[in-house]
């Protein structure tokens, strides 16, 4: 061809050459290898298979180098999570406090409710008369009518101590509430004066904050934390204003934003704090940084696919290598020696054929799971087991071929020239079977990749942190992933399907190409 293009403008010599009848012009001599290659490349489907395989190799082995991410590199995203911070409820029921050394039990409390609802100022219980004195708005003092001693108070506005863990004394609460519910600014207990500001804060005369009165109960949800009075006051103000957001500047001057939700069914407010958390960027949709998104561990999907391809292809090769070597040796021995050797080896082959390999692999996988075998070691075991289970079919193939080959003249010749037996088998017989071996290995790699992927899919083959196409698809067992994150499992499945398909197509093409009887 290149000669022709070079001599394009010189027409005369070409014509001369075309009409020459020299042997090398009429008969093209091709080596058997070239013939096979020619026949192979004429098969368009097989060439497609070869193209797919080339792509897969580039994708897995070169892609893994090119990609900017590592196999196990995890990605994070900043997530704004609304964590529940506090709860608030507007008190609508009477609460009670018993005076020191007085009994004010729940039955009496119930009687108080009845009395206040009927606007009675006395009630009797078990022949004892009690007085209910309305001291202020929604604030009652309960006394024994006989002796006029106060046994307790009932109130709706709640007095909360400013300091955590401090208990307020009854007299203090009584007087504070009395003053608060009547709109007074000051009150006295035991000679000491106290002030109440308009928000309900109670402080001593020298300005020390003591307590805080409010109709709202604000409680922290996070254990071990305490809400400052300022926070409670501001929150209550916002609640009364019906706001749904609330910004609070704490003593260090840092602004915090809170979301306020009113839950109508339980009549309380939930205050959520928006906090920024760094989380694994799991199941991120495909984007410029991650072309195929990220998986459940926040790893780049495309990179995982590349490394998974490496694992699948390498395992396919190694397993086939093991089973081919074993198969060639056993098959060669059986075919060459025949008689009892053949019989023995073929019965072993029968036995191996009969072993249910998939269930066995599952059981071994589960046992390795239970024993926490290191993932790398596991991969080695997996290859060894698969290779060891795979040799019988190769042995059977080789044996069948060699049985007929050994009767041919060239074998008599080797015998006559005194070639060693091992040489006769592996140098003279086996090379004649190489076409069949190549076809069988090519198809076998496809099968091995499926087996490995199936095991990994069940979680019993290649394990995290190593990627394999099988264990990438494993996530589809989660129905949510199946429904919503196609990019997690469809690419891996497609690659797997294409690779196995390509191996089979190439194997098929090779079989046809090696077949000398093939017409086209």
């Amino acid at each position: 061809m290149s000669d022709n293009t070079e001599n394009k403008n010189i027409s005369a010599p070409i014509e001369e050459e075309q009409y020459s009848l020299n042997d090398d012009r009429r008969v093209k001599v091709l080596s058997p290898g070239t013939m096979v290659a020619k026949r192979f490349f004429r098969n368009r489907i097989a060439v497609v298979g070869l193209a797919i395989l080339t792509f897969m190799f580039l994708f897995s082995f070169v892609g893994g180098i090119i990609t900017p991410y590592g196999e196990n590199q995890q990605f994070y995203r900043i997530d704004i999570q609304n964590k529940e911070y506090a709860g608030a409820v507007k008190n609508t029921e009477l609460r009670y406090m018993a005076a020191p050394d007085q009994k004010f039990d729940s039955i009496l409390q119930a009687q108080v409710v009845l009395a206040t609802q009927k606007h009675n100022d006395t009630f009797a219980y078990r022949n004892v008369e009690y007085g209910v004195i309305e001291e202020g708005r929604d604030f009652y003092r309960i006394t024994l009518l006989e002796s006029d001693t106060t046994i307790g108070i009932a109130y709706k506005d709640i007095v909360t101590p400013s300091l955590e863990g401090k208990n307020l004394e009854f007299e203090f609460v009584l007087n504070a509430l009395k003053a608060y519910t009547n709109g007074q600014q000051t009150f006295h207990v035991d000679g000491a004066g106290y002030n109440i500001d308009e928000d309900g804060g109670v402080s001593s005369e020298n300005g020390e904050e003591l307590a805080f009165i409010s109709r709202y109960v604000v409680q922290t949800i996070i254990p071990g934390s305490f809400l400052s009075r300022a926070f409670q006051e501001e929150l209550v103000a916002e609640l009364e204003a019906g706001a749904d957001r609330f910004v609070f500047t704490d003593t260090d001057g840092i602004e915090h934003e809170y979301a306020i939700d009113y839950k109508a069914d339980v009549k309380n407010w939930v205050i959520r704090q928006a906090t920024e958390t760094r989380v694994y960027d799991t199941y991120a949709a495909p984007s410029c940084e991650h072309w195929l998104g990220t998986d459940r561990n926040g790893m780049d999907m495309l990179t995982r696919l590349m490394y998974g391809g490496r694992v699948s292809l390498i395992i396919g090769f190694i397993v086939e290598a093991i089973s081919t070597i074993l198969g060639v040796i056993m098959g060669g021995l059986a075919g060459y020696f025949g008689k009892w050797v053949d019989n023995l080896i073929m019965r072993i082959v029968d036995i191996f054929y009969c072993i249910p390999s998939m269930p066995l692999l599952i059981i071994l996988g589960a046992a390795m799971d239970a024993m926490n075998v290191d993932p790398r070691l596991r991969m080695v075991y997996l290859m060894l087991i698969l290779g060891f289970l795979g040799w019988p079919s190769m042995a059977r193939l080789i044996r069948g071929q060699i049985l007929s080959l050994r009767e041919q003249e060239f074998m008599t010749a080797t015998e006559a020239t005194g070639v060693r037996v091992s040489r006769r088998i592996f140098k003279h017989l086996v090379p004649n079977v190489i076409p069949q071996i190549i076809v069988s290995v090519t198809m076998g790699i496809g099968g091995t990749i499926i087996t490995e992927a199936s095991l990994s899919f069940l979680g019993l083959g290649v394990k995290y942190p190593f990627a394999s196409w099988g264990n990438i698809i494993n996530d589809v067992n989660n129905t949510f992933v199946l429904q919503n994150y196609w990019f997690i499992w469809v690419p891996a499945g497609t690659l797997l399907l294409l690779t196995v398909l390509a191996w089979n197509l190439v194997g098929d093409g090779l079989r046809d190409a090696f077949d000398p009887k093939m017409k086209r």
Binding site: A366, S454, L458, G493
Partner: protein
Amino acid sequence: MQKYIIKRLFLAVIIFFFVMLIIYALMRCLPTSYIEAMARQKSLQPNSKSYEEWMAQLTEMYGMDRGIIAGYFHWLGDFFRGNFGDSWYYTVPVIEKFNDTVWLSFWMGLITMFFELVIAIPLGIIAATKQYTKTDYTISVLAIAFISLPTFFFIALLKLLFSVKLGWFDLFGLVGRNYEQLNSLGQFLDKCHHLVLPILTLVVISIGGLMRYTRTNMLEVLNADYIRTARAKGLDEHKVIYKHAFRNTLIPLVTIVGGSLPGLFSGALFTETMFSIPGIGYTSYHAMVAGDIPFSMFYLAFLAILTLVGNLIADILYAVVDPRVRIA
């Protein structure tokens, strides 16, 4: 013939003996701590026996206190007396659980096989008769594609399409939510409805192999001399193919189909598991993953027997169907 069958049977028994020896040895090679841990875990299940009872049963059943060979004979003796022990995972006798589940798998397998034969054989023959045409290429590539299809991926795709997008079928299970309220016909139809996708899966993944096999055999027959003779004497093509060629193609087909009959009982591990169909495949998968040794041993032995019986049937059929085969 009789002598041949007896010889084959004898061989099958010997092979079974060694297969189970290998499997038994593997089971024994599992570290004892693992078995003990499993027994302990199982004993914590509700309605379960105590740990000591499990261990005693296990030791007794598998001859754990003996050497591997002696223990193996002990286990084999029990096996042939029909004493399979109690399943750890299901806490019922193994044979009971097996009986409960195997028939569902069998019916699934039978329906699958019917569709497989009805679809694959005609397509294989068409491909062979139209060799090197577009039809042939399409069928051949489809066959390879079906063979290459990873079951689990195909199932996931089916589920996405038919269950999620179209909503025609449930994602899991053999029976629907309102199964209990249906009458017996409704219950039957409900089960059928839930089996559509699993059977579709099984048909698609099994069809490719048979299609290729039919095509190869048909091509071989079509190249035979008697076909040339038939054509030469002027028979029409239809008659050549369906009377002369097809009948001869049937010889290997009958053999392979007959050989796969016992396989109907072996269950479909992936398909049943992914669709949560309580057949033998699903049941044994969970038993195996949970380290249920009695059930696993039984299932492995069962599969080995099925394979052996299948080979036996194939060999015998081969001799029966093809009168040219002479038995040595």
